[in-house]
Amino acid sequence: MGFSEADIGAILLTLRLATTVTILLLLFGAPLAWWLARTSSRFKGPIGALIALPLVLPPTVLGFYLLLALGPNGPIGQFTQSLGLGTFAFSYSGLVIGSIFYSLPFVVQPLQNAFDAVGERPLEVAATLGAGPVDRFFSIALPLAKPGFFTAAVLGFAHTVGEFGVVLMIGGNIPGETRVVSVQIYDHVEALAYDQANQLALLMVVFSFLILLSVYGMQKKSHRQVLRFSQ
């Protein structure tokens, strides 16, 4: 037993990818979730649905369109080429882009729920105490939505770790660049290396279980906090 060098490379790459994607998603996702939680714009529905698409679409659909979009004739590919960056398929950056789309709902939705749960009232209170809109977001909405950030970060991270279909489509299986754990497991199975597949797969099962356990524990806690405010 023990992981091969290739396995460890895949594990480290996966952790790096998931960390990068989670940080980026929290940065972009928070304002988006904030907007979704508070707007009454007619675009709220369509945009919410668009973000949720990866929840219902097979990852291969997303991967396939990403492959087309990232390609030299696709819109993203044209854009990156015009910046002199070349195309992003089969690169770490491409994987980051793909994972951001893929894991977006797992970050935006918990954040949106958390902001919804904060409600109007604390923000109105803050306004009467002289806090402007940006101030209110940072001093009230963010701290009160903290459990939501935890859930979002954990789910976004875990979902990126577990991503397979999209990576398969746009990855190209390059060691240290795009060969993540899920692809490595697939390769082990295809190569009939069931022992190695089993080791890595077991690691994923244990990891996912621990992640979900922490999220459920946290949700109970945050539920209490929401109750507290409405007392």
């Binding site: 030299p72 195309t87 398929a89 190209g172 692809v183 199975v189 295809e190 190569a191």
Partner: protein
Amino acid sequence: MSMDYKKFSRRVLCLALLMPVSTVAAELTVAVASNFTAPAKYLAEEFEAQSEHQVRLVFGSSGRFFAQISNGAPFDLFFSADQEKPQELIENGLAIDDSLFTYALGGLVLWSRDEQLIQSSPAVLSSNQFSRLSIANARHAPYGIAAEEVLSNLNLLANLQSKLVRGENIAQTFQFVFTGNAELGFVAKSQVYQDDILISGSAWQVTEDLYSPIRQDAVLLQRASTNDAALAFLAFVRSSRGRSIIRSYGYVVGD
């Protein structure tokens, strides 16, 4: 091999003589390696037209089929993309030894969508005219093993290592080139040739001395040992009509 074949065909012949012409319609399920998708469909269609039997085709990766068959998947026939997996199934007692035969030899082609890129030679591989070369994963895909062999024989494998992107199977390898994300790639001849004519782009048909033959074997699975429909379909695939269909998709078939 040819001994087995004779023995097997005699049995098929005997069965055919013993059976009344209008046999009871039966159904069979065939697991087919995805590179063989198109010819398998055509074969099944013709077979269904001339017999009472129904053929259900399931396409996928040979490695996955192997795992599924080992765990009791209800397939009657297995058309693998390689030789190892059918052989291993036989050794595990899951397939019938004397039914094993090579149904096709895959042809390897270096292909690009760009009509100018490949001048019917490997010259482009030593140029700087591309940044990505798509090949199948050599760990488990026979076309990937062949592609690495070619690169190795051309003394290019080490130099091109950083440009290689690997498809999990030959279909994905083709997809990378087709979408332009890789400028060229080693694909199956059956994917880009129809009746020996290049469908689009530019290509170099890799000469056979640069790689070991990509033998694709089929085998009758244990559970179907007495399935008339399965035997009949195997017989059809091996008939001259069947072989010419396979050949028309760019595969080499022994006589």
